[in-house]
């Protein structure tokens, strides 16, 4: 995996043409959309899941879902924003399912500290290889991947992706106050981790 520059800008007309063709069942047209957008979607999924395997699965689900729902894309937002929303939703849905599964496992194993488990399960390497291997960037990616899931989600959405608290609240169903607290916690953990 290689980091790539942001997707090239494309005109609305190009988007509309590609979408129309894809809506008519043209997978080749959809491939153009995929190649242009997959980098951003995959980066988002990697950071939100902190797990390369899950990120690949979710990214695949995102594009399958986008294919299924193309007819609902009206073009009143950017295609990339639309895909981004689908990606965030897919990750959140997957995370909720995973939490329920974990909860069942925890009950079965009579474990009480799920949060501790989540932290210890955090991978050291999430699969991002940067072209310029600056220590700071790698340390930061690793530190983000080691955050507790809730704090990581808010940090990625707010500080990396630029969503506002009210938008994140709508996506996650969490109160804005809770999200702010998680964001502060994430930042504090990151500051501590990076100062070591």
């Amino acid at each position: 995996m290689t980091a790539v520059p942001p997707a090239n800008g494309s005109s609305d007309r190009d988007d509309a043409r590609l979408i129309d063709r894809a809506k008519a069942g043209d997978v080749d047209a959809f491939e153009h959309v995929y190649r242009r957008e997959v980098g951003r979607v995959y980066a988002l999924c990697l950071r939100l899941t902190a797990d390369a395997v899950r990120a690949r699965e979710v990214t695949q689900s995102v594009f399958i879902r986008a294919w299924d729902r193309l007819e609902s894309f009206r073009g009143d937002s950017q295609l990339s924003s639309w895909l981004h929303r689908i990606a965030v939703n897919e990750v959140l849905v997957e995370a909720r399912t995973d939490r329920r599964r974990r909860a069942r496992v925890v009950l079965a194993n009579d474990r009480s500290d799920e949060e501790a488990g989540a932290l210890s399960d955090a991978p050291n390497e999430i699969g991002i290889t940067l072209p310029e291997d600056t220590d700071t960037r790698i340390d930061l990616e690793r530190a983000i991947s080691a955050l507790p899931p809730g704090a990581r989600t808010v940090f990625v959405l707010h500080d990396i992706e630029g969503y506002r608290h009210e938008e994140i609240s709508r996506m996650t169903g969490s109160a804005e106050g809770t999200l702010r607290a998680q964001l502060h916690r994430a930042r504090q953990l990151l500051v501590e981790a990076l100062s070591r």
């Binding site: 995996m1 290689t2 980091a3 790539v4 520059p5 942001p6 997707a7 809506k23 008519a24 069942g25 997978v27 959809f30 491939e31 995929y34 190649r35 997959v38 980098g39 951003r40 995959y42 980066a43 990697l46 990120a55 690949r56 699965e57 990214t59 695949q60 594009f63 399958i64 294919w67 299924d68 729902r69 193309l70 007819e71 849905v93 997957e94 909720r96 399912t97 329920r100 599964r101 991002i128 940067l130 600056t134 700071t136 960037r137 930061l140 990616e141 500080d159 990396i160 702010r180 607290a181 964001l183 502060h184 930042r187 504090q188 990151l190 500051v191 990076l194 100062s195």
Partner: protein, 245 residues
Amino acid sequence: MNENREHPDFAVLSDLVDGYLSRQDAAVISEHLSACDSCAETYKSIAGLLSSVNSLPGSVLPPDDFWVDLRKSLDERKEVVLPTSSSAASGSVRSTGVRRVSGRMVALLAVAAVVLIALSSGITALVLRNRTGSLLVRGDRPTAVKPGSVASSPVLPAGFRQTENELNRTIEELQLAVDTQRDQLSPETIRTVDRSLAVVDSAIAEARAALTADPNNQMLVDLLSASYQRKLDLLRRTSELGSRT
């Protein structure tokens, strides 16, 4: 550094960086920062963190073979696409929708779907042989149904077109219901139901293609109806499973 003043906590400094504090509060905290090295250091570290975030790559490519797998999935979905009445009316594509279920039921449904397609393939072949006097050689997969063409196909019996529209409306409603329960089923369950639905959809496409070629054949009408019914059952059970989970 003024040791007598109360230090703002991390959250307040974090809010200051974001510009979430009122002008008055921001002025008070800023004044504190100018006199407190420790808090000023924390403030700088938060601002520095956010600055570092801007240097992270916004785009990361997945492995090279990623598109190949994705394309395979899309092609499979494309082959079994059957438009609903509403999408047929608008001429738009409709996907095969949500596909999941769970546990032992999943296995049973998967087996049922395989049995269904085996039966329907056999029956379709038999029906066609009886009609033509020779066994029809079919391709490995049913012919892709062109989006928007199914419900208005000129060769499908008119009576069945109406039935098919009603069936598709119900299927669409069930698929929507299952969609909303998506997060209540495990990915493994979802994959199994996906496969089962794909098999059922293949059976439908095959029976439908046969009926299109032989529109007066009542046996094929029955076979296609049964295949649709199987899909409805699968979606209903998935929906029930989702609400119980």
